[in-house]
Symmetry: C2
Subunit: 500 residues, 2 copies
C-alpha cells in the first residue's frame, strides 16, 4: 500500500482499474469499482413506499413535497442514462476550469463525475472536500466519461458540512501521509480508496472463512473474553479489576473451543484476543482478531491441515469474487492455494537448511525467521507454492495440550503454515485423554488446580481433536503485502496507542 | 428449556421430533434431527485419500492396515442400509436387557441405536456414559427403529474414556439439574440436546443477521475492545492496566461504528461488549455479544427501523430453515415478523396507558417494564403482532448523540423494539453535524475534550445516519422463552461468575 512504501512509485490511481475504460480527456478519473457479481442491494433501489417494514426508502433527503428521492449508487449510474437521478456521497474533489467545473462525488461503490457549466458552477464555490452532498441531475452518456456516464445540469444540496480539512488530500492516487498520520486520523483517512481496501479484503476474508466452515458442519461460538486465571503462556496478559477480584483478558479461546468440541464436534470463533505485548514492532498488536477453529474425530494433525487448506482456499476464493476492485486498487495478485500444500518435517527442514545455507540449525528447538523465509523460498522453487506446512515441532516449544508424536514423544503432531516466508497459522492435534493432561502438566511442573474446569472437560470423554488459529490482521497483511500490521488493523492497539 | 421450568412437564424427549417415525417398541428413542435442507458436509463423507489438501479423511481411527475408516453421521445412516458402516460419538445411554442390549450413540447430528445380542453384549459391560466410541457394524433396516435403521453385529472401539460421571444424566429427556449445576459444568452439561439447542439457534441467528446485512451492502468491521476514556454512561465500566496507563473495556462499539459510516456507509459488528453490572438478576451479564448496525444516508429513524425489520425477518427465517430441530426440541414457535411492525409514539403510548390501565405515566421520561408489557399485549391484541416499535423517547433519557425531533427538541428520533413485552432493540438516528455535537455536549455540561477523536469524525463531513444494537443473548433468550439469560449464554460472566 502506498502509505507503507513511500519509495515505490505506482501509476495506479484509485479511479482507474484494470477493467476501466479509456482515460477521461478532461482530467477527472472517476471509477474504482468494476462490474462484478455483487449481491443485490435492495436498500439502494428504493421505491417511494414509506411503510415501515416495506422496502426501505434509502433516501437522502426529501423533496419539497416530502416524498423521498431515489438514490442511485455510483456503480449503477450507467443503467440510468437519460433520466433524472439523485446520487449522494462525499465531495471527493472539485476542479474548476475556465469553461467547465467538475465535482467528483464518492459513495461506497465508487466515484461519480458531475459536470457544472455556466451558472451551475457557482454551486461549487463555497464547498470544501468531504462535504456530504446530494446531487440531482441528468445521467448523461459521454463516451469519454468513465463508465460512459456523468451527471449534467446538477442541483447540489449540502447534507452535512466538512468543518475542517482532512489531514491529507483524500483524492490523490497515492496516500501523501505516513502511517502515524493515517492512524491518528483513521476515521477520515480510511475514506481514501487505497486505505479502505484492506478492510474490504478483511471483511470478505472473514465471510469466506465462515461460509466454508458452515458448509463443513461447523458451529459458531462466542466465548468469554474475561477469564479468572492466567493460563498458557502466563506472561503478557492484561489484568483487570473484576468486581473487586483479579481477572484477565483472554489471550485465546483455546480452552473454550476445545471444550465445545464435546458439544458440537466442530466449532469456530471469530473474536478479539488480547496480548500485553511489550514489543513495539511492525507485527505486534495488543488486540487482534483471531479466527479460531477446533474439530473432533480426527486421526491426527493431517486432518486439521486438510480442513485448514480447504478453508484457506475458500477464504481466498471469496476475496477474489467479492472484492475484486479492492484487489485491483492495491494491485494484488492473490496466491493460489494448491490442492496439496507441500509439507516438510521439522527435522528434515533443519537438515535442508544445514545442507543448503551457511547455517546449521540442527538440534535447535525452533525455526528462526530467516529459516522460515528460506524454507518458503524453497517451497516456491521446488513446489511452486507460496504456502508450506512445517510439521512435527519439538514438544518443548509447544503448549502442554499439544499431542505428542506417538513414535517420538519429543516431537508433536503440530504444524505451522508458512506463507511467503512468514508463519500465518499455528495448529495441531491436542491431547484428549484426561490422564494425558494430568501427566503433561505434571511433567512441566504445573499445578493442575490452575486448570480445574478445563481438565474437567476431558474427564467426561473427549474425542481425538485438533485445530488452528489464524490472525485476521496477519492474513490481511500478508495478502496485501503490508509492511506494518497496523495499516490493516481498524484502530490498532499497541504499546503506545489507545486512541482513536 | 427444562432446566429453567422445573414446574413445566413436557412429553418431549430429545429423541423424538415432529418429523420422527413411530416410537421404538423396545425403549430407546433415538433421533433428534429431522430431514431438512442442510449444507453438504464434505468432511463427513470422506474418501480413503490421505493427501493433505484433498478431501479430508474425517476419520475416527485407523484400521489395522492404517487406512482410515469412513465415518457416517447419525443423520445419514438410513442411506447406508445393508452396508457396513462406522459411526462415532459419545455413549449417550446403555440399556442391558435379558436377551438384548442397546447402546445409544450421540453425534452432532443425532442419535444412533446400536443393537448387541449374544456375546456382542459383553462389549458394553465396562463402558460408562460419555465414553467416546467408534462403532463398526451393519446398518440394518428395522421398521420399528427410528429413521428405520439401527446398527447390528457391532464392533465397539473406545476412542476415549469418560473418567468421571456427568453431573446429571445427559440422556434424560428433561434436564434433571438446576441452572447453577448446568453453568458450573457447562462443558459437559451443554452436551444435553435440550441445553445445546439455544446455542444452535444463536449461531443460526448470527448467520442470518450477517447474511441479510451483507445482502444490503453492509461491511463487517472489528473494533477495539480496549478504550482510553470512559464515555457515554460513565459508570459500569471495567478498568484495566494498559501498559501502566488506565484503560477500560468497551461498553459498545457505538463511536467506532458511527465513524466507519464515513468510510463504508453501512457497517455492522458482532462482538463482545462489557458492562460492570453490579446487579445480580436474571437478565444482567458482564459480557454479552452485541449485534451492532449503523447506516448512513437515511432520512430519519424510520429508515433504520425498516432495515431492522427486514434484518429481524431474515434472522428468524434463517433460524427456521437451518435449525428446525433445535426449535422442535424446545417446542418453540418462532414469531412472525409482520411486513409492517406496528409503531406507537411515546406520548401516545403513555396516553393509552393512562386511558386503559390503573396508572397514569404521562409526563414520566421513560416507560416502566410493566408499561412495556402492557403495550406489547396491546400490539398483540390490536395488531396481531408480537413486535412493537415505540418511537420518540424523551431527549433526557437518550444519549447525547441522539438526533432530536426537529419539531420538538425535547423528543428524539429514537425507537425501542419491544418483543413479547421486553425491549429487544434500541436504536435511532444520530446527530451528524459537528456543531450539533458541540452544542449537545455543552447542554449536558460535558467536556468535549473527553470525546476528541470521536468529534473529529464529524468535523470531516458525515451523512445523516442511524443504527441499532441487538443483544444476541437477549434475542436467543426471547426466542427460547428462557427465564434466565445465563441459560442462553456460553460460559456467562456476572457479578459472581468468572469460571468456567
Amino acid at each position: 500500500m502506498a502509505v507503507l512504501r513511500p519509495g515505490r512509485k505506482t501509476l495506479l490511481s484509485p479511479c482507474t482499474t484494470k477493467g476501466s475504460t479509456a482515460q477521461v480527456s478532461y482530467g477527472a478519473k472517476v471509477r474504482w469499482h468494476r462490474e462484478s457479481p455483487s449481491p443485490a442491494l435492495p436498500g439502494d433501489h428504493p421505491t417511494l413506499r414509506v411503510a415501515t417494514g416495506g422496502p426501505v426508502r434509502g433516501s437522502v433527503g426529501s423533496t419539497p413535497k416530502g416524498l423521498p428521492l431515489m438514490r442511485v449508487l455510483a456503480r449503477d449510474l450507467s443503467a440510468h442514462v437519460g433520466t433524472e437521478v439523485t446520487v449522494a456521497g462525499w465531495l471527493h474533489r472539485r476542479r474548476q476550469l475556465k469553461s467547465v467545473s467538475f465535482a467528483i462525488l464518492r459513495d461506497r461503490t465508487g466515484l461519480v463525475q458531475v459536470v457544472l457549466t455556466g451558472p451551475d458552477a457557482d454551486q461549487l464555490a463555497d464547498l470544501t472536500e468531504e462535504t456530504v452532498l446530494q446531487v440531482t441531475g441528468i445521467a448523461t452518456a459521454n463516451r469519454q466519461a468513465p463508465d460512459g456516464v456523468e451527471i449534467t445540469a446538477p442541483v447540489l444540496t449540502t447534507l452535512s458540512e466538512s468543518a475542517r480539512p482532512a489531514p491529507f488530500d483524500l483524492y490523490r492516487p497515492n496516500v501523501p501521509a505516513g502511517l502515524s498520520v493515517v492512524l491518528d486520523h483513521a476515521g477520515v483517512a480510511l475514506r481514501h480508496p487505497m486505505l479502505r481496501a484492506p478492510f474490504e479484503i478483511s471483511a470478505a476474508a472473514v465471510r469466506g472463512f465462515r461460509a466454508h466452515l458452515d458448509g463443513e458442519g461447523f458451529t459458531e461460538i462466542h466465548t468469554p473474553k474475561i477469564v479468572g486465571t492466567v493460563t498458557e503462556s502466563g506472561a503478557n496478559v492484561f489484568a483487570l479489576d473484576y468486581f473487586g477480584r483479579p481477572a484477565y483478558l483472554a489471550q485465546s479461546p483455546q480452552f473454550y473451543k476445545q471444550t465445545m468440541v464435546g458439544v458440537f464436534e466442530r466449532v469456530y470463533e471469530v473474536g478479539p484476543v488480547f496480548r500485553a505485548e511489550p514489543h513495539d514492532t511492525a507485527r505486534h498488536l495488543a488486540q487482534y482478531t483471531s479466527l479460531d477453529v477446533e474439530v473432533g474425530f480426527i486421526t491426527d494433525h493431517h486432518d486439521v491441515m486438510a480442513i485448514l487448506t480447504r478453508t484457506l482456499a475458500g477464504t481466498l476464493d471469496t476475496i477474489a469474487h467479492e472484492v475484486p476492485d479492492a484487489l485491483d486498487r492495491l494491485r494484488i495478485a492473490l496466491p493460489e492455494v494448491p490442492e496439496k500444500i507441500p509439507e516438510i518435517d521439522f527435522v528434515a527442514a533443519q537438515k535442508l537448511l544445514a545442507a543448503h545455507t551457511d547455517e546449521d540449525p540442527r538440534g535447535e528447538p525452533d525455526l528462526a525467521p530467516a529459516h522460515e523465509r528460506w524454507l518458503s523460498g524453497w517451497a516456491q522453487r521446488e513446489h511452486g507454492s507460496r504456502f508450506l506446512y512445517v510439521t512435527g515441532y519439538p514438544t518443548i516449544k509447544r503448549p502442554f495440550y499439544t499431542h505428542p508424536d506417538p513414535n517420538n514423544p519429543e516431537r508433536t503432531r503440530s504444524f505451522d503454515l508458512l506463507f511467503d516466508g512468514l508463519e500465518l497459522v499455528t495448529g495441531g492435534q491436542r491431547l484428549h485423554r484426561h490422564s494425558d493432561y494430568l501427566s503433561a502438566l505434571s511433567k512441566r511442573g504445573e499445578d493442575p488446580r490452575q486448570y480445574m474446569w478445563y481438565l474437567g472437560t476431558f474427564a467426561h470423554g473427549m474425542p481425538p481433536h485438533g485445530g488452528f488459529a489464524i490472525g485476521l490482521e496477519r492474513l490481511t497483511g500478508r495478502i496485501t503485502g503490508a509492511d506494518n500490521i497496523r495499516s490493516v488493523t481498524l484502530f490498532p492497539r499497541d504499546l503506545h496507542r489507545l486512541t482513536p
